[in-house]
Structure formats: C-alpha cells, structure tokens
C-alpha cells in the first residue's frame, strides 16, 4: 500500500469510457509528470508495425503540439487467458520505452480491472522494476473534448512548444483532450496504417452540411457587412447631425434600440474570426437574440395583419386618447372644487385649473387633427415589427411618451411651480429667523436685514405659506400620473433589455448539452474490490444557470436605475424633475 516510487503521488490513469470495449493493443496518450497522471487518448490495435506507430504519433504531436506517446499496453481478455499475449505485451515495453510503463488489463466477464505501473529507473534497488499505486479515472472523451471549463484557467494561445504545460491540474487533462482533436479525425472505416480505437462522431452527413454552410458563410458575411457599413455610413451623414436632431435621437428609445442592433449585426457579420471561445459565445448569443427578436416580431406582425386588427387598433387609439383627456378634465374639475376638504386657495386653484383645462382642450383638438392619419401611422409602425420585437416595443414606448405629452407638460408646470415655492419658502424661512445662507462657508449664518427687506420677506413668506397647499396638491396629482407613465415605460424598457441582454444561446446550450459549459468536474467512486486499483468516474459538473447568465450576459446600453429610492424621494419632495431611466443616463453622459 505504500508507494516506493520517486514521486509519492498516486498514479492516476485517465481512461476514456469508449475504449473499455476495445480490443487489446497499445495505450496512446500523454503523460503529465507534475501530477503523475496519464491521460489515455486512444488504443492502437494489433497488428501494427512499431515504426509506423511512431511515425504516426510524431505526426500527431507536430500538429496538435501535445506530447502524445505510447504509455503502455491494454489487454482485453475475451477468451481463455492467452499467456503468450501477456508475454508479448510485456515485451513491447522494450520497443516503446516509457516511464512508467502502464499495464491495464480487463478480465473476461469481470468488471474489475487490474493495473500495473512499472518503473525501471529511479527505484530504490536499481535493476528491479518498482510498481506505483494506481487509480483509474474513467472519463467521457466526447464530453471532455467539447466542454469548456469556467473560468478559463489560461488562454490557450501560447505558441510555445507544449502549450498544455501552462495549464494546471484537471485543466491540463481537458486541455490535452481538446488539443488532440487531430487524433480523433480518423474514423472507424479508415484503412490507415494504424488502427485506432477512440471516440468517433456519428454525424458525418450533417457535417457536410456544416461544411457547406461554413463555405458559404464567408461571402454572405462579406456582403451583409458591406450593406451594414453602408447603413451606418448613411446614419452618420452630416444631415442627421444638424442641431436639434441628435438631441431628438438621444431622447427616442427607438433610435437607441436601432443603433444597438446595428452594432450587434455589424459585430456578427464582421468577416474576422472570433479568437477565443468567449467571443464566439458572445457572437452566438447575439445571433440567437437577434433571431429570436425577429421571430417574435414576425409573429407580432402576422398577428397584427390578420383579421384587420390594425384597423381595430387604430380605431381604438383615438377614443382612448379622448378618454384619457376626459378623465383628466374630470380630475381637474374635482381639484378645482376644494377636494377632500383641503384648505386650498380658491383664486389660485381656479387659475391653475383653467390653465390646465385649456391645455387639455388644445390636446384634444390636436388628437382630432391627427385622427385621419392614425391608421396609416399604426400600419407603418406595425411594419417595423419585422425588424424585431424590441424595435416595435421601443416604438410603443415612444408612442406612449408622445401620447402622454400633456401629462408630462402638467407635471413640468406643477414641478416648476412647486420647486419655486419650496425654494422660496426655505430661503424666506431663513430670513424670517434672521439668518441667511452663506455660500462661501456652505452654512447658515446670522445676518441683520434692513427693515424693508424684512417686511417684504415676511409678507411673501406669509403668502407662500398659505398658497403652498394648493400648489402641492396639483404637483402631487400630476406627479402620480407622471410616475404611472414612467412605470409603464420602465416596464417596456425592462422587457426590451431582457431580450437584448439575455444570453439565449448559452442558456440553450446549458439546457440541452449541459457538459458544454463546465464549472468543474465531479467524481463518483465505482464499485470496489480489495486489492484492485481504485476506480473513479469523472463527470462534468455543469455551470449553474445563474452563472451562465452572469458570465455571458450581453452588454446593455445604459438602462441602469442610477438613482436610489432615497434620492428619488428627495427629488420628488423638492420638486426636481425626474426622467425615465434612459434619459437620466444620457444626462449623465
């Protein structure tokens, strides 16, 4: 039980499960001395000519840059024990010298294997072979080949000799298997000089299609990329950069969305190849997100164009706007008549109410002026759904913003008035107490005022105090309406963001091929028998969904709520204007 070897570590033999049924032969793989582990990649069958095997291995080593060598022998006893085969296999160690020399053997009808690892040098008594303690780890070659470890340990673009030397631990195993893809190219029906047993892909026919697609994708990408560059060149034309236009573009979420999509498409169809797996994954995610978006948009389009829904929608739109205006009128009339027994100033109340009523009147006439064209507008907007659901959602958000423009106006008037009052009151309150704000020291100082200053200040203070409830009520009501609109817009933006940034391809991969995205590995101890080497099964531990989303989330275009609830409440209290998330972000930039 005690190892007499030079490295005291237990020798780990990584053996592919697909080779368990293979005929006897030679074990081909890579020896990782740091961890004293042997990664078996394939089995070479009899008969073979040793020089051809060596030549083949040298070829593989050159293309894959992995130190592939013959690690030992594999003996699968199907019939009666053949002693001569055993001796023959022993003899092979003289031809393919390797340190240590592995001897794996599978008995007929037994699930337990025997394994010997022999060292000829470095043992305590020179000359006599020493044996290492061995542990067999089974792995699924296909899964290990295709899976991608997270987080990537070391970028595999080191072009120095043995590239896998950088990777440590199990990453080295993964790396070895991934690098020796060349070895697996040859399939079962190939009649080469060397017969190999390893994992083989089944989908040869499908791969022809893939090859065709790959071949065709180059020119298509080139064509689309040139088209896209034309579009972006047009959008960058000076005509669109005249003064008021960039401001309007930045305020319309449709333009933002279109710009975002254009960037994505340019990236997808860019002719240069993705360098590393994460970039490839990002491209795929973008592609799937765009495709899903367009598919959803087309579904919406077909739904809209079926059974004259566009007409229905257009017919419903004007009455809805009318209805909203009417409700607002009722609200204003209620506000004008001392609601809830509040101590409102009647004169100011009437003035404000009439002002807002006049605005609504203007708005209604505007809507009625628009009503003949509404159907055509809706039709065109519906057409935009073929650019994707997100685009039409952004247009919807913009339309909501336009249709509730009167609410925005009311809110701005109310907020400005309220802000003025609050500011005036706060400074007049200081005057009332005989204090003033010292700008240089950023604090409140005492100050001696003149008699007329005091008198006018107090007069204004009294007036403002008694007028405050009226203004505050109007402000409160219109702020609530505004918040409602902002919430609806925010929900639409959230949905758009979700479609934009969700890594759908990665999530689908995780769902259907969990081994492709590996967080690590897990081991299962297989059945034991005393005196036989320990057998473990290495399985891929898939990445959790949360990590997948976190790792592969696409960049969003600035819709973070930059303000906390506290600062929002503060702003609301002091009557500062609040904007929906996106515009706030723009303001910061």
């Amino acid at each position: 039980m005690v190892s007499f070897g030079d490295p005291g570590m237990v020798l780990k033999a990584f053996f592919p499960t697909c080779c368990a049924a293979a005929d006897s032969g030679l074990l081909v793989g890579r020896w990782v001395p740091e961890q004293s582990s042997a990664v078996v990649l394939a089995v070479v069958h009899f008969p073979f000519i040793p020089s051809q095997v060596k030549e083949f291995l040298a070829q593989v080593q050159q293309t894959s840059q992995v130190g592939v060598a013959v690690l030992g022998t594999w003996c699968h006893r199907r019939q009666e024990p053949e002693d001569n085969l055993g001796h023959f296999l022993e003899g092979l160690s003289a031809i393919f010298s390797h340190e240590p020399w592995l001897q794996l053997c599978r008995e007929k009808g037994s699930t337990f294997w025997s394994c010997k690892a022999t060292r000829w040098q470095g043992s305590t008594s020179p000359g006599a072979p020493s044996e290492d303690q061995v542990m067999i780890v089974f792995y699924d070659q296909r899964k290990v080949l295709l899976s991608q470890l997270h987080p990537p340990a070391i970028l595999p673009d080191q072009e120095t000799g043995d590239a896998a030397a950088g990777a440590v631990g199990l990453a080295a195993v993964f790396h070895t298997v991934a690098r020796s893809e060349v070895l697996f190219r040859s399939d079962r029906f190939d009649e080469g000089p060397v017969r190999l047993s390893h994992w083989q892909s089944d989908g040869v026919e499908a791969s022809i299609l893939v090859e065709l697609a790959k071949w065709a994708s180059g020119p298509i990408c080139l064509l689309l990329a040139s088209l896209l560059s034309l579009v972006s060149a047009v959008s960058a034309c000076w005509l669109f950069k005249l003064w008021p236009l960039p401001f309007i573009w930045s305020k319309l979420s449709t333009c933002e969305q279109l710009r975002y999509r254009l960037e994505q498409l340019t990236l997808i169809f860019s002719p240069q190849k993705a360098e590393n797996p994460s970039q490839r994954m990002r491209k795929a995610n973008m592609c799937v997100s765009v495709l899903l978006d367009v598919a959803l948009g087309l579904t919406l389009l077909s739904w809209l164009h079926g059974k004259g829904r566009i007409e229905q929608l257009a017919d419903a739109l004007v009455p809805v706007a009318d209805r909203v205006a009417e409700e607002l009128q009722h609200l204003l009339q209620w506000l004008m008549g001392a609601p809830a027994g509040l101590k409102m100033n009647r004169a100011l109340d009437q003035v404000l109410g009439r002002f807002f009523l006049y605005h609504i009147h203007l708005w209604i006439s505007y809507i009625h002026l628009m009503s003949p064209f509404i159907e055509r507008i809706v039709w065109h907007v519906g057409l935009s759904a073929c650019l994707g659901l997100t685009v039409s959602l952004s247009i919807l958000s913009d339309i909501i913003a336009l249709l509730t423009f009167h609410i925005y106006c009311f809110y701005v008037y109310g907020a400005r008035l309220y802000c003025l009052k609050i500011c005036g009151l706060s400074s007049l309150w200081r005057l009332f107490r005989g204090k003033k704000w010292n700008v240089l020291r950023q604090r409140v100082d005492s100050c001696s005022y003149d008699l007329d200053q005091l008198f006018i200040g107090t007069l204004l203070f009294t007036i403002l105090v008694f007028l405050l409830p009226t203004t505050a009520l109007y402000y409160l009501v219109f702020t609530l309406l505004r918040l409602l609109v902002i919430t609806v817009q925010g929900l639409i933006h959230l949905l758009v963001d979700l479609i934009n940034s969700l890594p759908l391809y990665a999530l689908g991969l995780r769902l259907c091929r969990p081994y492709r995205l590996a967080a690590g590995v897990k081991f299962r101890v297989l059945e034991q028998e005393a005196g036989r080497p320990l057998r473990l099964l290495m399985q891929i531990n898939p990445l959790s969904y949360g990590r997948v989303v976190h790792t592969y989330r696409l960049p969003r275009y600035g819709c973070h709520p930059t303000h906390s609830w506290g600062s929002l409440c503060r702003k609301l209290f002091f009557g500062e204007l609040i904007y929906p998330w996106r515009q706030r972000e723009d303001k910061q930039d």
Binding site: N345, R346, A347, I456, L459, T462
Partner: protein, 296 residues
C-alpha cells in the same frame, strides 16, 4: 500609597497636580475655604430705576393691545379705514420729524442714511402692501377663523417673547420678533372685509411694531422725562381702548401692567436679599481674555 501626615509634617500640601505629594488624591487642607467669596456679581437695584426700565415691556404690551383693539374696530366696521390712514400718516410724519429733532440729527449722521433712502423705504412699503392687499384679502378664505386667531395669538406672543427689551440674552432676536408681528398682522388683516382695510391694517402694523419702538428707544435715551410721560399716556390710551370693548379685559390688562411695572421690580429687590451665590477655586476656569483675534 496611604499618606502619613504625621511623618511628613514639614511637607506642605500644594494645590498642584503636576507634583507627586504624600497625600491622598482627595486631600485638602484648612486653607481651602479661605478663598470662598459670596455674591461677587450681585448688583444693588434702586426701585424707581427698575420701574423706569420696565417701561419698555409696558410699552410693548400696550402696542400689541392697541393693535388688537384697532383691528377689532376695523373688523366691526366702527373705524373707517381712511381715518386710520390719515391718523397713521400724520403721526408717522410727526414721529419722523421728532426722530430727527430729539438728538439734533446726530443719529442720522452716524448711520449715514439719507432722506432719499427713507423715502424709498416708505415707497417700497406702501407699494408692496398696496399691491399685495388683494392677495392678502383672499389669502385665508378657506382657513377657519379660529385657526387664524390661534395663529395670530401665537405669533404675537412670540413677538413679545423675542422682543429686544435691552437684555443681553440668547433668546432675543429683534428680527424674529418683528417678523412674527408682521405675520400676525397679515393673518389678521386677511380677515378684514375689504382689501383697503387689509392694506391699512398692515401699514398700521409696520408703524406700531417697527417704527414706534425706534422712536421710543431714542426718546428713552435722550429725554427720560418725556419718555415716562409718553409711556403713561400710551398705557392709558390702550386701557381706554380695551375698556370700550370689554371691561374684564381692561381690568385684567391694568392688573398685568401694574404687576409688571410695580410688583415685579419690588420682588426683584426683595429677593435680592436672599441671594447666596458662592465663588471659589472649585469653579471651572473662565476665559476672560478676548480670543476673537485667534479666529481669523
């Protein structure tokens, strides 16, 4: 480290902390109480001087009383606003001339204030009050009368509390006191029937709360005898005005005035005898020097 005074009789105790001494921490010797002093800052008052000084309080109380009485007359419609305006203007003019005559223009030269500035201030008062009077009229329409009364009483009390009677205390703030009085007058004026009433009421409030105390102060400083006369006259007129409204109120107000001007000074002097204020080395250190030069 218990101390043995017997063994170290020659070692004298010193009242210092920076030297190690063979005494317990709380040790003091007989000389300790020698430094005790009593009533260092106590002052001797003369009765009539205190009564004279209490005239300011009496004056202010009377001002408030006169203001309320006039407002009541206006609210009842017994007093024509034109008459009040005329009287107010006349008395203001007289007061303005007196203000300069008393000290022979000394104060004006010191402050460097021109007559043009006075005229400007007066114009500002009148224009703003006149301009705002329609707003004042509708300002408190929806607020109940009791609320307004409560607010006014509160503000006038505040005016009396914070008024600068000449005492050097932290609570005194002439600005706040004047502002509270103006607030109260605006509140009361807004209950009057017409906007002209409101305008005249606010003007009157400025005269009685802002201008009249300035004249008083000057009178008191330069001609004490006439000040006493004016105070008495003012007090009696306020009492008379109150009497025409309510007898009980007048009696109570008279009692209050008497208490403030005679009873309070009497008790101040009596209670001065019982003063037992001790000073000694145990007092916390007091910084006598003016340290304001270190502030900059």
């Amino acid at each position: 480290m218990s101390a043995q005074p017997g063994t170290s009789t020659e070692v004298k105790w010193q009242k210092v902390l920076y030297e190690r001494q063979p005494f317990p921490d709380n040790y003091v010797d007989q000389r300790f109480l020698e430094e005790l002093r009593k009533n260092v800052h106590a002052r001797k008052y003369r009765f009539w001087a205190v009564v004279f000084e209490s005239g300011v309080v009496v004056q202010q109380l009377c001002s408030v009383c006169v203001f309320v009485v006039i407002w009541w007359y206006m609210d009842e419609g017994l007093l024509a606003p034109h008459w009040l305006l005329g009287t107010g203007l006349a008395s203001s003019l007289i007061g303005y001339i007196l203000f300069d005559l008393i000290d022979g223009g000394e104060g004006r030269r010191k402050s460097g204030r021109t007559r043009w500035a006075d005229l400007k201030s007066a114009l500002v008062f009148i224009t703003f009050t006149y301009g705002f009077s329609p707003i004042l009229k509708t300002l408190t329409e929806s607020v109940s009368t009791d609320t307004i009364y409560a607010m006014s009483v509160f503000m006038l009390l505040g005016h009396l509390v914070f008024f600068d009677y000449g005492a050097n205390a932290a609570i005194v703030s002439s600005t706040l006191s004047l502002n509270m009085a103006i607030f109260a007058s605006v509140c009361l004026a807004s209950r009057l029937p017409r906007s002209l009433h409101a305008f005249i009421m606010v003007t009157f409030a400025i005269q009685i709360f802002a201008l009249w105390p300035m004249l008083q102060k000057k009178l008191k400083a330069h001609t004490p005898c006439s000040y006493v006369g004016v105070t008495l006259l003012f007090a009696f007129s306020a009492l008379g005005g109150l009497l025409s409204i309510s007898l009980v109120g007048a009696v109570l107000f008279a009692l209050l005035l008497v208490a403030i001007s005679c009873l309070c000074p009497f008790y101040l002097i009596r209670l001065q005898l019982f003063k037992e204020n001790i000073h000694g080395p145990w007092d916390e250190a007091e910084i006598k020097e003016d340290l304001s030069r270190f502030l900059n």
